[in-house]
């Protein structure tokens, strides 16, 4: 007896099945991009005698429980914080050994000596909202980034990158090692010019 040819399986519903799966994955997908502000906490051990920092080298930022800002003992809107912080860091009021030859600031004698000395002190209340705190942090980091970008561009005019972009390339795991080796000293140099000195006081209790 002649063998019958096996009938062809109808593949018309394949598309439907694939669609079903596709829709399932579409719905469950959360393409998570985790990004945020990197910070480093100070270690626990107490410094025996804290170094004395001159008043003019400290930029105090206080956020109260009503989410209002007090910068250098004056109320300030958040929009102006970045500019004020840049002004403070870039002041370069120091003389002689403490002079800052790359600063473009006002050389105000009542503001910071040089970026290496300048410290930003951030203090918040326990009742401050987290999102406001993040906004303040964001602006302070932005102030550093503005200055670092400027210096990076000045030192490496042919690279066509600014500090933030270069740092992003450096931190990308797909970047080749040779490229990283090339960028590392350039980034390090700018970081030395404007070291991020952001100190956080323990939050005050609301009375």
């Amino acid at each position: 007896m002649a063998r019958r040819k096996a009938p062809e399986v109808n593949a018309g519903s394949m598309a439907d099945i694939a669609f079903l799966l596709l829709i399932f994955f579409l719905v469950t997908t959360t393409i998570e991009t985790d990004s945020g502000l990197n910070r480093k906490l100070p270690p626990m051990e107490d410094v025996v005698d804290p170094p004395i920092i001159k008043e003019r080298n400290i930029f105090t930022v206080v956020v109260n429980k009503y989410n209002q800002l007090l910068v250098e003992e004056k109320p300030l809107e958040l929009v102006n914080l970045r500019l004020e912080a840049v002004k403070f860091l870039d002041n370069g009021g120091g003389k002689g050994e403490e002079a800052c030859d790359y600063c473009l600031g006002d050389r105000d004698l009542d503001s910071s000596d040089n970026p290496d000395k300048a410290v930003i002190s951030l203090k918040n209340d326990r009742e401050t909202d987290y999102k406001v705190y993040i906004a303040v942090q964001n602006e302070l980091v932005a102030a550093y980034n503005v200055l670092r970008n400027r210096e990076f561009k000045r030192l490496n005019p042919n690279l066509g990158l600014d500090f933030v972009q270069a740092n992003k390339i450096y931190n990308d795991p797909r970047t080749s090692i040779t490229e990283k080796e090339r960028l590392k000293p350039l980034l390090g140099k700018v970081k030395l010019l404007f070291p991020q000195k952001l100190s956080e006081a323990e939050p005050s209790k609301t009375n």
């Binding site: 959360t30 990197n38 270690p43 918040n124 993040i134 602006e139 992003k168």
Partner: protein, 160 residues
């Protein structure tokens, strides 16, 4: 009788859909590969604040997550409306943070144990008191690298 019958009318031939499954499969594979299944079910509301000076957290294996915020709607009856910490799949108190960090650290590979980052995924409306407490606990166990996980956006979104 002519062998070549003249076709009647000008009706268009049907478009072949034979390649449709291929196209759909291609999309399917893309989503299958790109999908990251959430490893934590969120018990707290988690609207992250916005920031624009962000850096990416790339390597997932060296990150541990701490969530905080108000319990989400269906846990409100049980856990109240005060902001709370979530570690793994459970609500936790501030005292549990240290133990959690140490346990996470121990579960990672040796060479990664010292480069771990703690990602704080905190709801924007949380008060700073809770976050300071968490930070204090992290300092106690020497987990000093932290990342405030945010959405990418302008900071002014945070102010309303």
């Amino acid at each position: 009788m002519s062998k070549f019958k003249k076709k009647k009318g000008g009706d268009l031939p049907a478009i072949s859909t034979a390649s449709l499954p291929d196209i759909v499969f291609m999309l399917l594979f893309f989503f299958m590969v790109a999908t990251v299944m959430r490893d934590n079910t969120l018990l707290v509301s988690n609207t992250l604040p916005a920031a624009d000076q962000v850096q990416k957290l790339d390597k997932k294996d060296r990150v541990m997550y701490i969530y905080a915020g108000k319990p989400s709607a269906r846990y409100k009856d049980k856990f109240g409306t005060q902001a709370r910490i979530q570690l793994n799949d459970k609500f936790a108190t501030v005292q549990d943070v240290a133990a959690f960090v140490l346990a996470e650290k121990a579960s990672k590979r040796q060479e990664l144990q010292n480069v771990l980052t703690t990602a704080l995924k905190v709801d924007g409306d949380t008060k700073m008191g809770l976050i300071s407490d968490i930070k204090q606990e992290l300092r106690k166990v020497n987990a000093l690298k932290i990342n405030y996980t945010t959405r990418v956006g302008d900071y002014s979104q945070n102010l309303n």
